[in-house]
């Protein structure tokens, strides 16, 4: 049934790079690719989680979509919104209205402005007031919270306030950037189910997180992000079992979940400056072969996508 829904956001081969000096004291400038070849699609009423460990460039994905990269950042690739290309001009008009961001933490709120006024985004009209009150009630925030300053909010309150800021308008696309760190499990679950509820009311939700376990509970589809690249896209169901996963890194992630044995693989994610040729996961992969050092295509595999030679061959052998 989900196929019948309208596509809200489609990102194709997005790359983001930064200009930097090659050495600490040097005079040569180079482009540092932070995100390469990222592709994600989000439909109406769908919640897609982009899962990756810290340092994989996830937050930049959100900033890139919203056109908020710093001046030395450069973005390539295609982004379309409701079927039409999302130009910088258009995104400027849409952000805050149809496309909203729920930021990581309370530090994204003005420290010197009362919470209520910030939720209303500086609007003082009665409609805005009514709307913010209603949202506060819906998320169990007392009216007195309006008069608090951000530093007075508890972690859970801050999350809910941030969600309220996003829902002041009726967004079609909600981008949630790491909404759970610092929360205890119950609060984190609650926050994510709040986002699930937003999706169920028809908006598309892009959840950026490092927590695969929680993402599995709420998301429809999960995109695994490794060292700046998408390596697998699969339905949340596929993630419940190791066998249905296509990429060795996804499988490792799956094994790392406590119930699945706390599995551990050697090594760390490569830093952008010393990225290996071809598959970034290559050096840590058991099935590493010469082919892996070439460009790996993003191919459909079942109802998902994968970027892995090994699974290609496995697929061919199965067929």
């Amino acid at each position: 049934m989900k196929n019948g829904r309208k596509t809200i956001l489609e990102i194709k081969n997005m790359s983001i790079s930064f200009k930097q000096y090659a050495e600490k004291k040097g005079t040569k400038q180079i482009d540092l690719p932070v995100i390469r070849d990222l592709s994600v699609t989000i439909k109406e009423g769908e919640m897609v989680a982009v899962v990756g460990s810290s340092g994989s460039g996830k937050s930049l994905l959100a900033h890139g979509v919203l056109g908020l990269l710093p001046y030395n950042g450069k973005m390539e690739g295609k982004i379309s919104y409701c079927g039409k290309p999302l130009t910088p001009k258009k995104v400027e008009k849409l952000r805050g209205n149809e496309i909203v961001l729920v930021p990581q933490s309370v530090s994204y709120l003005d420290p010197l402005m009362k919470v209520g006024a910030q939720v209303r985004g500086g609007r003082k009209d009665a409609a805005a007031k009514e709307r913010s009150r209603e949202l506060f009630r819906r998320y169990g925030l007392e009216e007195s919270v309006e008069d608090l300053y951000p530093f007075e909010l508890s972690g859970g309150m801050a999350r809910r306030v941030l969600i309220c800021t996003a829902l002041m308008k009726n967004p079609k696309l909600v981008i949630a950037d790491e909404p759970t760190p610092g929360l205890h499990l119950e609060a984190a679950r609650q926050t994510l189910s709040d986002f699930r509820a937003i999706a169920d009311q028809g908006a598309g939700v892009l959840l950026i997180t490092h927590d695969l376990e929680l993402a599995m509970e709420v998301a429809d589809r999960i995109v695994v992000f490794y060292a700046g690249t998408t390596i697998e896209e699969a339905s949340a169901d596929d993630f419940r079992q190791e066998d249905t996963l296509r990429h060795p890194y996804s499988r490792a992630l799956h094994r790392a979940i406590p119930q699945n044995g706390f599995g551990y693989i050697e090594g760390t994610q490569p830093y952008v400056k010393d990225m290996p040729e071809g598959c970034p996961f290559g050096p840590r992969c058991e099935g590493f072969c010469e082919e892996c050092q070439k460009d790996i295509p993003w191919v459909k595999s079942g109802n998902g996508y994968v970027r892995c030679i090994g699974s290609l061959e496995a697929g061919r052998m199965r067929a």
Binding site: F18, K19, Q20, Y21, K24, K25, T27, Q29, N72
Partner: protein
């Protein structure tokens, strides 16, 4: 050409120019005093680019000589001041609460008196001469740098690797020299260079007020102070060119300091 290459070029150019003025001035002591009554009150022209004064002294030579004096005095005073700042800053941050309180109090005290007024007092105390100016400038300028260094050292002390070094049983001196100094040196250098323009400005101000050198030593403040008397009679060039050169000198010191900071500061890596 990117920002960093440009910065290096600015820095080099500024340093070369300043060195040229400072050294050039050393060689024209006599020329700066030479009077020629046949060449009195000349407008700027080819033979005298900055004109001549009421005694027929060449203003260009006088300006260079004056700037050179000012630069050297400024350098000396700023260097003394910067080292005082380094020592007091480190002492304040490492020798315990009592010392810190005393030094912070002294900093507040010095900052409480407007610079010029304090300079004036010190210069009076030391009898209105060269020493008065150097000591005065040195004593008034160390405060802000000392604060910066104190803050820096305190931050360093809290950092993980210093704590580990302490746990490993390294001596205080060892930690200070091996782990702290390397972090402080860039800060210190930049602070030192950025003190120069202030030192020169204040040196010229105090001599302008008549507290510095005698009029036989044509420091830039003296030249300008003398020119003031002739201003009303329309001899604008006596004040204009020496002043412009002074401004240029100060700007160049500032440029040199700022460029050095940009080169050292990793925060500007992407610019």
């Amino acid at each position: 050409m990117n920002q960093r290459k440009k910065t290096i070029i600015y820095f080099t150019a500024a340093v070369i120019f300043l060195a040229a003025v400072a050294i050039g001035g050393l060689f024209c002591k006599e020329a700066a005093q030479a009077t020629d009554f046949s060449q009195k009150n000349l407008l700027p022209g080819l033979s005298h680019p900055f004109g001549t004064d009421w005694l027929g002294r060449d203003m260009f030579v006088r300006t260079i000589r004056g700037l050179s004096l000012s630069i050297l005095i400024g350098l000396a005073a700023a260097t003394v001041s910067a080292f005082a700042a380094l020592i007091l800053g480190i002492a304040s941050a490492t020798l315990g609460k009592g010392v810190d309180a005393v030094i912070t109090w002294i900093i507040d005290l010095v900052m409480g008196i407007p610079h010029i007024l304090l300079l004036l007092l010190i210069s009076v105390a030391l009898g209105k001469g060269l020493t008065g100016v150097v000591v005065g400038v040195a004593l008034t300028h160390w405060t802000s740098l000392a604060r910066v260094i104190r803050g820096e050292v305190m931050q360093l002390r809290e950092s993980q690797y210093i704590k580990i070094a302490e746990k490993l049983g390294h001596g205080k001196l060892h930690i200070a020299v091996k782990h702290m100094l390397p972090h402080l040196v860039p800060q210190f250098l930049v602070g030192l260079i950025l003190l120069f323009p202030h030192a020169i400005l204040h040196e010229s101000s105090i001599t302008f007020l008549g507290f510095g050198l005698s009029s036989e030593q044509p420091a830039i403040g003296i030249i300008l102070s003398e020119s003031m008397k002739y201003l009303v009679t329309g001899k604008w060039w006596l004040a204009l060119f020496p002043g412009l050169m002074l401004v240029l000198t100060v700007i160049l010191f500032d440029v040199a300091g700022e460029s050095l900071r940009k080169l050292i500061d990793p925060g500007s890596a992407h610019k």
